[in-house]
Symmetry: C2
Subunit: 731 residues, 2 copies
């Protein structure tokens, strides 16, 4: 097939070149993500000459090893520009210099004979080694498991894609966390709650019929080490547990299995009533306990390696154990005990806050879960959002990290940009993830980072993990924009290794995605690394948060006061008044500070820490900040700086025109233009609003918004755009 296409292409090129132009789609639509295996740049061809065109396959094969071999063949053929021979691994084939071998010691006796030390590769990791084997210099890609080998193949190909040396390879790598999951907030009708990239990938009406795209999704995930996917929205539609749907889920699980990816499902605490027809869902009720066991049997019969449940309970209207006076732990454990015999886990979300609770929303999850520490079964993880609120452009880390040492804490971040400009705004989230992972909780003194909490190093947890709310949909480019692919990528890479630097991953992604042109790499990385801070500055500088459009979470609406719930209104979060701005969370206010360990709290209490200033402090408009400017002046400067940073990104991108294919260049340029206009909108709307309290003049050189406040209110993300955007479909 591949050969046929090659011949076809050659014929087409020779015979009909001009006529090809209009109809042949040279479309760089971004579908290939970072798995692009175009021929490497000329300067790398020399160094890579040593790679033979021989791939030595294992003796014993499996679906996973077949996938690994296919990927290696496809990748090397493309990258080196010559077809690869796939040679059976039996003794018949004599090794030659430059051969590439892959397999486990068990599947490939000739790899076993090399006595590689694979201890550090663990269950899912790999070793890539340049060794002498049977008198020849060969490269071995090995692992203790088939999926480890697959991960190794992707890592090896990444070396070539990014122009690394292939000499003297002595790599061993293994994931630091056990569960590395995507959370799809996808509904059965194929809408998605907060994805901005088309429809849900899961084509329920056509499943169990399969689409090539499911395989490519699995390939992309496996290439960055993601090993699980929650298919449905945490606001779960329980019809997914009907037999007809379970068969569809099983079909997807079958596609993902060879790639080491397990399927998980969201469920509700009320399932015993809604699915089971019971009168109660009380976790202490014997009928309920029995029902969960039965339901687990049913699920595992359809999907023998089912990963487990993700649960949002007693949060934003969802049912939960508290409806029966039981704790979150009891709610989780009843499910966990049903899954335990089958090897499944329960992932229980800590995103709980109540409309009836007068306490600072940022403090509620801590209050709820700290008393439960140690009460969860061994196969339960508590999944905690990076910040105490809700995926803002910047939040301090959640005080729960480090505070529940006897609980397996899992980090939840968003890959999708619910609050950072949906699909269009360029905002690379690597620095946000890194900021959280490297944040020091001081739980056991300095160096007690969130990364060490979640990878188990700090408290010795063995069930560890990280979850990312997916930005993946049916858009040809998967993620709504080219640069959004980087957020999927960096999530996977950091879930695998929380110590990676955002900058390194940005470069790695850029090289794989756009190639190794030095100026292009430098530009792309510079844009990416500045991008999230730009969003912080033009949306929510200095620790501001949750001033986005009501419901839609799009566009500025600091004035928003729609609805009955005070904790869903913007003023609840920014506390603007005639005196100043910001939420006092010190001892004189809600004292959320006390939920942090003292050294961490001291940092947040320090008003020179401007990043979190208005998160923790109500600051006078005229108060001088550590920059020497008043709060009002600093606010203006930051908002303007955010807009300027977007202008700079546009200029940088225009500077690499011609170094990127026209399609991906144009799409990105178009989105940057939208981003600039909307950054300006954000700046002007927010400043017009805050100035109505501050009543101070604009600092010298700073322009007042072009329109009065009521103009921006009339644009009104909250009222005009809300319904159009709230479904999460509008981008």
């Amino acid at each position: 097939m591949r050969l046929f296409r090659r011949i076809l292409l050659a014929l087409l090129c020779l015979l009909a070149m001009p006529s090809l132009v209009p109809s042949l789609a040279l479309a760089e639509d971004g579908y290939d993500l970072w798995l692009r295996y175009g021929k490497v740049e000329a300067r790398f061809l020399g160094p890579y000459r040593a790679v033979n065109a021989h791939v030595i396959t294992p003796n014993r094969t499996s679906a996973t090893l077949t996938a690994a071999g296919d990927e290696l063949s496809r990748g090397l053929s493309g990258l080196l520009g010559r077809p690869q021979d796939m040679l059976g691994g039996g003794d018949v084939v004599a090794f030659r210099d430059g051969d590439v071998l892959f397999g486990t010691p068990r599947s490939a006796p000739r790899i076993n004979a090399l006595k590689l030390d694979l201890a550090a590769a663990g269950d899912e990791g790999y070793a890539i080694r340049s060794v002498m084997a049977e008198g020849h210099k060969v490269t071995v890609i090995a692992g203790n498991s088939d999926v480890g080998v697959l991960h190794g193949v992707f890592a090896y190909l990444r070396l070539l894609q990014t122009g690394q040396s292939l000499a003297g390879l002595a790599i061993t790598d293994a994931p630091k966390s056990k569960l590395r999951l995507l959370n799809h907030w996808d509904n059965l009708n194929r809408t998605s709650e907060r994805s901005y990239s088309g429809l849900s990938l899961w084509n329920w009406s056509q499943l169990p019929a399969l689409d090539k795209r499911y395989t490519d999704y699995a390939r992309a995930n496996a290439s960055i080490g993601i090993n699980g996917t929650v298919l449905n929205n945490v606001n779960a539609d329980l019809r997914i547990y009907q037999p007809a749907y379970l068969a569809k889920v099983a079909a997807l699980a079958g596609v993902f299995r060879p790639y080491g990816i397990k399927v998980y499902l969201s469920v509700l605490s009320s399932a015993p009533i809604q699915i089971g027809g019971l009168k109660t869902a009380d976790p202490r009720d014997p009928g309920v306990i029995a029902w969960w066991k039965q339901e687990a049997e049913t699920i595992y019969k359809a999907i023998p390696d089912f990963g487990g449940f993700l649960v949002k309970a007693n949060s934003e209207g969802m049912p939960g154990p508290q409806d029966y006076g039981r704790t979150q732990a009891e709610g989780a454990n009843v499910m966990a005990r049903a899954l335990q015999p089958h090897g499944g886990v329960v992932i229980w979300r800590a995103f709980v806050y109540s409309p009836d609770n007068a306490q600072d929303r940022a403090m509620q999850a801590y209050k709820e879960f700290v008393p439960l520490d140690g009460k969860f079964d061994a196969n339960v993880l508590v999944q905690i959002k990076n910040g105490p609120l809700d995926f803002q452009p910047r939040e301090p880390f959640s005080p729960l990290f480090g505070a529940i040492p006897k609980t397996d804490a899992m980090l939840e971040v968003q890959i999708t940009k619910e609050y950072l400009g949906f699909a269009t705004h360029l905002a690379y989230l690597g620095p946000l993830y890194e900021e959280t992972l490297k944040a020091d909780t001081y739980a056991k003194g300095p160096g007690s980072t969130v990364a060490k909490v979640i990878d188990g190093e700090l408290f010795g947890n063995t069930l560890t993990g990280m979850a990312g709310v997916s930005n993946i949909g049916t858009d040809p480019n998967w993620s709504g924009s080219i640069f959004n692919q980087a957020n999927w990528y960096v999530f996977g890479r950091m879930a695998w290794n929380p110590e990676l630097s955002a900058r390194d991953v940005a470069e790695e992604w850029t090289r794989q995605t756009f190639g190794n042109d030095p100026k292009l790499v430098q530009t792309s990385v510079a844009m990416m690394m500045a991008s999230r801070e730009a969003v912080v500055d033009y949306m929510t500088p200095l620790g501001l948060n949750l001033i986005m459009g009501h419901g839609s979470h799009y566009g500025p609406a600091p004035w928003d006061d729609i609805g009955d719930r005070p904790d869903w209104k913007a003023p609840y979060y920014h506390h603007a008044d005639a005196a100043g701005l910001g939420y006092d969370r010190t001892a004189s206010g809600s004292n959320a500070l006390e939920q942090y360990f003292p050294q961490a709290a001291a940092k947040f209490a320090d008003k020179s820490n401007l990043e979190y200033l208005l998160w923790f402090h109500h600051v006078g408009w005229g108060e001088k900040l550590s920059t020497g400017r008043t709060l009002w002046d600093e606010l203006v400067v930051r908002y303007t700086g955010g807009v300027d940073a977007v202008k700079k990104m546009r200029a940088q991108w225009n500077g690499v025109k011609g170094k990127v294919d026209p399609e991906r260049f144009a799409l990105t340029a178009r989105y940057l233009a939208i981003q600039q206009a909307e950054a300006q909108w954000w700046r002007d709307a927010c400043l017009a609003y805050f100035q109505s309290f501050a009543k101070m003049p604009y600092p010298k050189g700073e322009k007042a918004p072009a329109h009065p406040l009521n103009y921006y209110e009339s644009l009104n993300a909250a009222k005009n755009l809300d319904a159009a955007l709230a479904s999460g479909l509008s981008n």
Copy 2:
């Protein structure tokens, strides 16, 4: 730019062929629709040699003429495999044999000098002539208007795409109807009520930023003569009239304008209240009259060539003039008078029926509108669905056609397959449209076809038109499947010329879409021409209707009795009982027959007319039909025949493997597999259900369904799949 791409492609081919294969998307995703300009088959190159590589452009240009020139250049370059020179039309360029000239007499003096008779080309039509000009044999593509020229260019390119002779061309063509519109049932959140091809094309959150896809949409429509598009759902969200949205609508109108396509919007009768803040929407209220005038001014200020309003009123819960005791005509006229000074029209839908009306639903629109004949203003059209109910696989024509001679009647058909298997089932709707258009109303004696009603020939109407409910969305292939593109195509072609035959259009589309291989053409046309009848047979044979899943309109549910409205339950339509099956609409029943002119009624009354048998008659299970079989036996034979017809289509398609690119082949093959499984589901579920009344044995050689009735009820399209499918997104 085009040259650059050509060079780039050549270099890529020469330098890096093998490495290209994995990353270069040779993907035939169907995006190019029927506008595929690959090089013509070798056997046509000889005959087309006479076409020079010179295109002579008009002296005066316009956005439309520029689009025409671009299309001609792109098309000829691709089809002939050599670049075209675009030569200015001034006297400097000497004609050469084989030149192609295009323009209007006004824009091109040298065309004017030819004194072509363009009277029959009208406002939007064209002439394509082989003529001697200044001593040379040239081809002229001319029209009275720029858009006529554009239509001519597409028609000329179609000649080459379909392998027609270019010798002695003497073509003049003009549309028979004035308004040829797409109706998008698209919501502002980008869902679509009944499209099954991804999201709405209109990216409201990014507009007024433009996407290339909008231009390609306009090109595709212009190529088949569509000249208007209603952007939003008839169940209208009035926020589209807010200034921010009108600016977005204006941006789209700007893209479509050069292609001769006007933008229309759906509106509600209640707009004066909802948008205007008035206390009433009574069409006689002076404030309401003034408000509509004001609103029209606002719209035309933003979109000077705005087409007009589409209105669904007093139907399925929509507000309307009857809320104030006014007639539908008064409701339409108040809007029409506001639009009239600006040249706009009101398209008033006749799809009205009431839950409170005990009368046969199929009779209600007629009762409502016949008394209003002559009461509508001159710029109002009444848009009538092809059948009296709702877009079933087969319906008799609506009795309103021919019954309101003083009203400008517009035909509404579905291009999307709400009731014919969504995106996956292959059902070419050309025969359905043709059946309606050629149906004889006998309004003025034999030959009074629906086509002649709607094109104005029968009653002398000057405002004429045809509307198609769009199947277009963001799927790369636009329409959810390759063959669904043919329904968009045939709609446009038949709206332009209602006398075209479905078969001819099928062939035309096939040649443009798949090429001119004789076996492939023959196969595709055979499949298409049999496909809709297959759907009729496996879903609703013998005049059955509306036994689809509740709400979703997907899958069999003849047992459906969900909800309070009897007219939304299946038994209302099929009247199955121990005695027999079918809705008695003769004089002994609802007498819907009386709404037809006598000769038409006589045909429907004739029980040997099996196509409409159960629509008009309650027939005993054991009654012998004109085929010699009992009703029960005939029903079984038809259902089985439908399944067999799908099996045949699959075999036919497999027979052209290798003659179609792998991607479009595989997608179609996958969908045919789904169609076969679902055809079987339909047959078995319906027969199991009807047999529970008939209690007769299966005829010899016919298999009973594999499962008992309750199994099919438990699959239950109505309950299981409904919510997943009801949004219209699930395919």
